[in-house]
Symmetry: C2
Subunit: 261 residues, 2 copies
Amino acid sequence: MFINDIVIIGSGNVATNIAFALRNIGKNILCIYSRSPEKARKLAGNVSAPYTTQLDMLPAKADLYFIAVNDNAIVDVTARLKGVSGIVAHTSGSVSMSVFENVIADYGVFYPLMHLSSEKLMDFKSIPLCIEADSRKSFCALQELACALSDKVFPVTSAERKILHLAAVFSCNFTNLNYIISEEILKKNGLPFDMLHPIITETANKIRNSLPSKLQTGPAVREDLEVIGAQYKLLDDFPQYQKMYKLLTEIIIQKKKDNEL
Amino acid sequence: MFINDIVIIGSGNVATNIAFALRNIGKNILCIYSRSPEKARKLAGNVSAPYTTQLDMLPAKADLYFIAVNDNAIVDVTARLKGVSGIVAHTSGSVSMSVFENVIADYGVFYPLMHLSSEKLMDFKSIPLCIEADSRKSFCALQELACALSDKVFPVTSAERKILHLAAVFSCNFTNLNYIISEEILKKNGLPFDMLHPIITETANKIRNSLPSKLQTGPAVREDLEVIGAQYKLLDDFPQYQKMYKLLTEIIIQKKKDNEL
């Protein structure tokens, strides 16, 4: 089965990026759904597709229905798609594929492992796409579409996808918290955050050539108790960051002792 | 005063990068010191300079003596440089400039805010160089040299440098710990770490156009308690990471409540 006619449900960051990416490879966007008439009209206009604000008005037949809405709306949308002819796939990192069981005939998951923003469209070529499906037939169809969009397509089960999502929370969401804390500490001392841009870029680039467990640097891995003590004290005005500094330093020191670094 | 004749004390990551960078802008490296004859010979050979393994054999007169040794060796090296004619500057993020007081006549600090590795030499043009000195004369000399090496030269006091170093621990050392934890969780589940490369790069790139406090994403900032609970449970085998997940999630939720995100 070759996917050509596609319905997109949603008009947020993921839906917008997917709509543009599909249009760019010449797919036919049958219809875009959004609760918001403004957002529906805007996205549909940008990719030259029809739109609707009513789920009941969606075509009853398509090759693929993308559900790219908030996690907590997926169940409701799925119920409204009962009986459609075509593969139904959601794009969430944390919702199991089993959400479709006993409701949808052919289904799957199509999860882009990337921060997507409607304000900055991304080239899909280098975005890992994680694919899962209820049957070999649905899987092959989704995989073919994914390979047309990206060079990095992975078969990933629902359980694995949750692990990937958790790993991304550490590597990205918690990393951004590190950046926020730096921003705050620097600002309080009248220093510009952009002084850290080069070293942050270097930290992220280094892991392309070596595993992070081979790359740990800093006072904790050196067990430099003098610097650790002085830095802990510098955080006296930030008790939560102090707690965090202590815990993360302990984790690094323990990993070093266990020869994991 | 124009700096041309330079002595480099040390042969590690910082010393090696600085030696090559100085040679590349045509400075005259008078002598390289290292305790290790092999390392001294290797670095000196690479930058066509003489070397010694004895501090007492260093030239008594130079425009600049760079002390690029471990933090805990700076005091000892400084004592041995008593009486030299020329500016003495260390390259450490965490050692105060006052280490030179009453020992050295003209002194300063020349701190590159970057992970430097002797195995991968860096172009200094985009490395922030933080400069401090005991006098206007020494400062101007160090600043002129720094500007010949880099486009990003900042006057930074010892107190500010410690703050920068602390911020770099959060943004870089603790971020690498996030990568390590991701690597470990993925490995345990048979997933390759490099699936995260694109989203890690994107996370680091995004802060070039927007402050991190405007960029937080993920289950914590959405206060998505269902995903937070499920992810916490996925960490059952890693009690320390669970503690970390809880603390960092609490910090993000509180910042959101305080309208800081």
